[in-house]
């Protein structure tokens, strides 16, 4: 090959900050963002009022433009970004400062804007926290939009583009992004920006592969240049070879096909290849996770942890405070939703109200915790139960007691629940007629009396993390013995089978809300064992649903029958995990890709 040819094919690789995952191949479109030359001049006597009117008009116009952008977007929680910018255009203090500057110094509005904003931004430059230091940049878009409207500059629009392109720009504002036609933008590359900037957040929400912080990409790329963009790694290739293009095209197709499949799966029922339905549900900790629950096509919450309400405050939250939180969740889940609220599941060490009693507990895992802690503090427990019952007036609610180790505890808790129901009735407070009640199966004792428990509750939910820990007497956090933590230990399989049988005989459903429920290695075994509901982190649900469709219920039962004949954890593991990886490697690969993309 001659030198010239080699030179022509020299690939240039640039690295920036990966801001939104995905791969894009295409022609660059260099979006020129003219540098705004801010005019400076002193005002003549009597011009001040006119200048302030110009400022007011530009603020109004900016607000109007942003409201229109907001109306166009369909981004759920990401609208907060636009809302924050809208709030700046409505900030009385900021407006007052701009106005004052014009009056005090008799300068034109543009000059005043540039001065005041430079001051605002400079305040952030000295803060220690790196994340907050960047936040001064969030004001840039405000400044630019206001200046553009004051100066009457026409911004180049990208709506006219005929073919899809990779946008290359010094910077893009959230409003710019909101205005682009998603079909026409393959990817985005910018000189500046960070992974936490508003533009990056929006790009992720719009699923546009994006790399920011490339420093000089606008100087390196002309409109029409061929570009390969790897949004996973934050790499851009200029002047790519055919081989490189082919390689990335394959990767892009692979990723896009899977993404598409996942989306298709979202609206399908969760069932095995032979049509046996399972119910999938979400584990959540905070009300803000409901967006993720819905994005993953889930209508049920199988575990709403309520500990966050109790950990952060010096005093337990009041009934009204808790009711507000529960009601919000129940309402947001909608009329078809079901919300399973678990009562406080704290070790005494984490609950401020019990700190004194558990001081120096030698064995906290077996100490005063969860339902035991609640029964020791009936006032706090009753307050929570009242708040939950009141929330049940707004949609389907299930109550779940954690760490039950015997019938006595269950009956005590139920008696309190009955009293609280009566109190509410007398108070005239609304509550649902029927609120399903379940227990978590987490202790070997609960497993062994599962048949008796089943007669007194509406459902079971197996909490695998604790069940494994207590059954095997292994603390997973203890590095000396955590090699013994085996989710597929024959004892664990037998325990789950016992629980399922007891539930089946009593005609109640068995859920599982531990980590195992969301792990693809175990999906087939859990179906084979007869678990009827799997509750997991919302982002696992689509993967588990895909996996369910890959096998029949008969195959799952056979797998479990075979596993139950094996005597050691490692044999069971080889059989189950080994088979899953051998038969469905794509599912694991996809899940890994998804995890990388989120990281």
């Amino acid at each position: 090959m001659s030198d010239v040819a080699e030179d022509e094919h020299r690939i240039r690789e640039l690295t920036g900050v990966p801001a939104s995952p995905g791969i894009a191949l295409g022609r660059a479109y260099h979006l020129e963002r003219a540098h705004l030359r801010v005019p400076h001049h002193k005002l003549a006597a009597g011009e001040v009022d006119r200048e302030i009117t110009r400022l007011v008009t530009a603020m109004e116009l900016s607000r109007h433009q942003l409201s229109q952008v907001r109306a166009k977007l369909n981004l759920g929680d990401h609208l907060q970004i636009i809302d924050a910018h809208l709030a700046l255009f409505q900030d009385p203090e900021l407006f007052q400062r701009l106005r004052q500057r014009i009056t005090d110094l008799s300068i034109n509005a543009e000059w005043a804007v540039a001065q005041v904003l430079a001051e605002v931004v400079s305040v952030f430059e000295h803060v220690d926290d790196a994340y907050l230091r960047e936040r001064g940049r969030d004001f840039d878009y405000f400044e630019r939009r206001l200046l553009i409207n004051l100066m009457g500059v026409k911004q180049e629009s990208i709506e006219h583009l005929a073919d899809p392109v990779v946008l290359v720009a010094h910077d893009l504002s959230p409003a710019d992004l909101a205005n682009v036609n998603r079909e026409k933008v393959l990817g985005i590359l910018t000189d500046v920006g960070t992974a936490t900037s508003h533009t990056a957040i929006l790009a992720r929400a719009m699923e546009i592969p994006t790399i920011v912080g490339l420093e000089s990409i606008t100087g390196e790329v002309k409109t029409g240049d061929l570009i390969v963009l790897d949004g996973f790694e934050g790499k851009v290739f200029l002047n790519p070879s055919l081989e490189l293009i082919a390689e990335y095209d394959t990767r892009r197709e692979f990723y896009e096909r899977f993404e598409q499949d996942l989306r298709l799966v979202r609206d399908l029922p969760a069932e095995t290849a032979d049509g046996v339905r399972l119910s999938l549900a979400a584990n959540i900790e905070l009300p803000s996770e409901i967006a993720a629950v819905k994005n993953n096509g889930l209508t049920r919450i199988g575990l709403f942890r309520t500990e966050f309400l109790f950990i952060f405050s010096a005093h337990p939250p009041t009934e009204d405070e808790q009711y507000e939180v529960y009601r919000q969740v129940v309402e947001r889940m909608g009329p078809d939703g079901v919300t399973t609220i678990r009562t406080i599941d704290l070790g005494g060490d984490k609950a401020s109200f019990a700190a004194a009693e558990v001081m120096g507990e030698a064995n906290p895992a077996m100490g005063l915790r969860a339902i035991r802690l609640c029964l020791a503090h009936p006032d706090i427990f009753r307050t929570q139960l009242r708040a939950i019952l009141r929330a049940s007036a707004h949609g389907a609610v299930r109550i779940m007691f954690p760490m039950i180790s015997g019938i006595d505890e269950l009956r005590q808790a139920k008696a309190l629940l009955a009293e609280v129901r009566e109190e509410l009735r007398q108070r005239g407070a609304a509550q649902a007629e029927k609120v399903e009640l379940g227990v978590m199966i987490e202790t070997p004792a609960a497993v062994l009396v599962a048949d008796m428990l089943a007669a007194e509750v509406d459902y079971f939910s197996i909490g695998t993390n604790d069940l494994i820990q207590y059954t095997l007497a292994v603390d997973r956090a203890n590095e000396h013995i955590n090699y013994l933590f085996h989710p597929l230990h024959p004892a664990v399989l037998r325990a789950i089978r016992l629980v399922v049988r007891a539930a089946r005989e009593a005609g109640i459903p068995v859920a599982m809300c531990g980590e195992m429920a969301g792990q693809l290695e175990y999906t087939m075994a859990l179906v084979g064992l007869g678990v009827t509901e799997l509750s997991m982190a919302p982002n696992k649900a689509l993967h588990v649903k895909r996996m369910l469709g890959r096998f029949t219920s008969a195959e799952a039962r056979e797998l479990v029958e075979q596993a139950l004949t094996l005597h050691t954890s490692s044999e069971v593991n080889d059989l189950i995990v080994g088979r899953m990886h051998a038969n469905f490697p794509e599912e694991f690969e996809l899940e890994k890709m998804d995890r990388d993309a989120e990281a």
Partner: protein, 83 residues
Amino acid sequence: MTVANQAGIHLRVASKIVKLLADFDCVVEIAFNGRTADAKSIMSVTQLMAPAGSVLRLHASGPDAAKAIFELDKLFRAKFGEE
């Protein structure tokens, strides 16, 4: 009140505080690290530059003062709906 989300008080969080107070008839001041902000001004609140874990002092006066503090307490405790 304690800033319990991971990111601290940034523009979007400030926007939630401002939005919450918009219709309340009261003046709320937030003090942190020698700075004081008008809680109804997003610029002012953002410029507190309060990182995760910082403790803010709030002072409210006016007819809706108690309600405002109650609602703000909830918002802070829910980590502003963030992680």
